[in-house]
């Protein structure tokens, strides 16, 4: 388990991290969200001891040291490989630095290239690959030694939906193998699809922390999805409805002032009859993200 306890980091007068705490158990995925400059990369750099910090970070109960390097897989925010090397030379070199023999790595390169659908062979030079394929090679470098702690800084950035799905599968496989995974993303869809828990940072402070359900439920079930023949005006007149948004013809999203208004609206809408859709939910992660960012700007 990766445990981060009360870490703080200052760059001069700027508070990059302020008393941040969370755990990432083995076999779980934690999503780190926040605006640019919220402190996500600083958190990763603190975990990897790239910078000094106040507080405690432990991996499997002890401070992370050089002895743990072989168990870490790290994908930095911007991609960077050695352009003159071939795919094989690059992957073998980085895997050797992670303690995996060249022989073992060479035996599996083709399998990984196929898994990520890289357009090129093991003998292709990095500089001859497209940006997307270079990114996939970097992901292979991060994953090929089967790390137990996976740190991915914006792993989906620049990937098309098909390649994003390939990455999602790889991350889920690593999780199933027992890895503790922490990744940052601006795309709430990916966070929703992958994360067991999430942490939202805002200017170095933790503003949200919990499982996806816990976080969403903190905001109450204030969103009501209905499909009905009622007009928007009629829906707006219902007690407890703050706003009505037309999603599709006959499909509406009602914003409630109070989640407790749900049963009364249900009664009024159905009058004891069948209704195609009536779903009362908490806000989506995307909406919560915007809400939290908005709080800061307010």
């Amino acid at each position: 388990m990766l445990s981060i306890q009360h870490i703080s980091k200052h760059f001069g007068t700027v508070h990059a991290l302020n008393d941040v705490s969370f755990d990432v158990p083995d076999g779980q995925i934690l999503g780190l969200i926040g605006q640019n400059g919220a402190g996500k990369s600083t958190t990763f750099h603190s975990i990897l001891n790239f910078i000094t910090y106040d507080g405690t970070i432990t991996w499997q109960g002890h401070p992370l040291s050089a002895n743990d390097f072989d168990t870490i897989g790290y994908l930095p925010e911007e991609r960077s490989l050695m352009p003159k090397l071939t795919i094989e030379q690059q992957v073998v070199y980085l895997a050797r630095l992670k303690g995996q023999s060249a022989k073992e790595t060479r035996a599996h390169i083709d399998e990984w290239l196929q898994r990520f659908a890289v357009k090129g062979t093991r003998k292709s030079r990095i500089k001859d690959l497209s940006k997307g394929n270079q990114q996939k090679v970097q992901l292979i470098c991060t994953l090929i030694h089967h790390p137990k702690l996976l740190i991915l800084d914006e792993p989906f950035s620049g990937l098309d939906p098909v390649n994003a799905d390939l990455l999602k599968q790889a991350v889920l496989t690593a999780r199933d193998e027992g890895a503790a995974i922490i990744f940052s993303s601006h795309d709430m869809e990916h966070v929703t699809a992958l994360c067991d828990q999430l942490v939202m940072l805002r200017k170095g402070d933790v503003v949200l922390h919990g499982t996806l359900t816990e976080v969403r439920n903190q905001f109450g079930k204030t969103e009501l999805y209905v499909t009905t023949d009622w007009t928007p005006d009629r829906l707006q007149a219902l007690p407890g409805v703050a706003a009505v948004t037309v999603r599709q013809p006959r499909q509406y999203l009602l914003q409630l002032n109070d989640p407790a208004a749900g049963p009364a609206i249900f009664e009024a809408l159905t009058e004891g009859h069948y209704i195609e859709e009536f779903s009362q939910q908490p806000p989506t992660l995307d909406e919560i993200f915007r809400l939290k960012v908005g709080e800061d700007h307010a």
Binding site: F50, R79, L94
Partner: protein
């Protein structure tokens, strides 16, 4: 340690597999080969047109001249043939030997004046033959001939041993100082650019999540030092092969034999503790160059990175010039203990035989301590320096480094 070797191996392979390294290693051999080849072709093509034919009605006279001189055309025997060959530029000229009224004469016909060597040989030949003929005609006794043959004597007395040793010292000094300078300048640039090109790149984050910065730094430096050793070994082997070729070559063997003691003295002056100074000098300059590479503002500034180190190397090189004939100066003694300069100045003193074993040991200890201290300091700063991308000046970086040992 294992990961340090991985980095060493990778750095070494990347350098020696580059075209620039191959050109650098093979360049001198290609230049020497090209020079010898061109000289050989030029000599061969020009040899026939540089020959002089010898013509005479007296065959014994002609044969005597040919016997005493090399490089003559012996095939042409008539003036007519010689004129034709001269016209076609197949001859440099022809010499007509004759005897008129007991006087020996030589008439040279050519497109250019006679070569000084051939002229001296011809005059000598004519004088010897004229003298013999004069003696014969004068009907002198053996005693009278002996008396007339007497010439004044001028003898030079030179202490050959000391003279040779002085030349050996000068040759050794220049060879060593130039070798140190060239290797320092070349590899300072390579080391600084190798490190600077990685500055601020995200691959450094991946590497520092795999091994410690100190381990990586030592691996890099060791890799570059192995490249330097490779170059030195290639040059030593090339030098040995060249020497073997020279002593087996009929043309070069007399030269080698003549300068045998000088060559031995120079080799002795170079292949001793001075070689250690050369290597340690290269190490300390390489470490400084690596640091220079690490403190540039961004990877694009890699070409500028080596400049401070190159300047320091040049300063050391040029500072030795005024003192090559004054090796007992206090300044030389002081500089022979100062790291970065001792690699130039102590070998000068060792060659001159004015540095005791204790002084050499002390200077080496200071140099080793400086390398250790310097490597430790840079190793401790390396991660921070390589990951940051701000645009602080070199001095700001130094100050920051000393204030924040993290």
């Amino acid at each position: 340690m294992h990961k340090t070797w991985i980095v060493t191996f990778e750095t070494y392979l990347r350098q020696i597999k580059s075209w620039s390294f191959l050109f650098m290693i093979l360049g001198p051999f290609l230049m020497i080969g090209l020079t010898i080849g061109i000289s050989y072709i030029s000599a061969n093509s020009a040899s026939s047109s540089r020959e002089v034919a010898v013509i005479s009605e007296s065959q014994p006279l002609r044969q005597a001249f040919i016997k005493q001189n090399d490089g003559l055309n012996t095939k042409i025997t008539t003036v007519k043939a010689a004129k034709a060959a001269l016209k076609k530029d197949h001859l440099a000229g022809y010499l007509v030997l004759s005897t008129v009224n007991q006087q020996f004469k030589a008439d040279y016909h050519g497109s250019d004046s006679m070569g000084s060597s051939l002229r001296a040989q011809t005059q000598n030949f004519l004088a010897t033959n004229q003298q013999a003929a004069n003696y014969q005609q004068a009907n002198l006794s053996a005693k009278q001939r002996q008396a007339l043959a007497r010439t004044p004597a001028l003898t030079q007395h030179i202490a050959k041993k000391a003279g040779a040793a002085n030349i050996a010292k000068k040759v050794s000094f220049w060879l060593l100082v130039t070798m140190i300078y060239i290797i320092l300048i070349t590899y300072s640039s390579i080391a600084a650019q190798e490190i600077a090109s990685e500055k601020g790149t995200k691959i450094m984050e991946i590497i520092f999540s795999s091994t410690t910065a100190t381990s990586y730094f030592i691996g890099k430096i060791t890799g570059i030092l192995l490249v330097i050793l490779t170059q030195i070994v290639v040059y030593l082997l090339g030098g040995w092969a060249g020497y073997q070729f020279a002593i087996n070559s009929t043309k070069l063997k007399p030269l080698i034999t003549e300068y045998h003691s000088l060559i031995n003295a120079v080799i002795h002056n170079l292949v001793n503790v001075n070689l250690v100074y050369l290597l340690l000098g290269v190490v300390i300059y390489t470490v400084l160059a690596a640091y220079s590479g690490a403190i540039v503002a961004k990877a694009e500034d890699a070409s500028k990175a080596a400049q401070p180190v190159v300047m320091l190397g040049m300063l050391g090189f040029f500072l030795t010039f005024p003192f090559q004939s004054n090796l007992d100066a206090v300044f030389v003694k002081i500089m022979s203990y100062v790291p970065f300069f001792s690699s130039y100045f102590m070998p000068m003193r060792i060659i001159n035989g004015t540095a005791s074993g204790l002084e050499q040991g002390l200077s080496l200890a200071i140099l080793l301590a400086a390398i250790g201290l310097f490597a430790w300091y840079i190793g401790s700063q390396y991660q921070r320096l390589m990951l940051q991308t701000d645009s602080k000046s070199i001095w700001q970086q130094w100050l920051h480094g000393w204030r924040h040992q993290d």
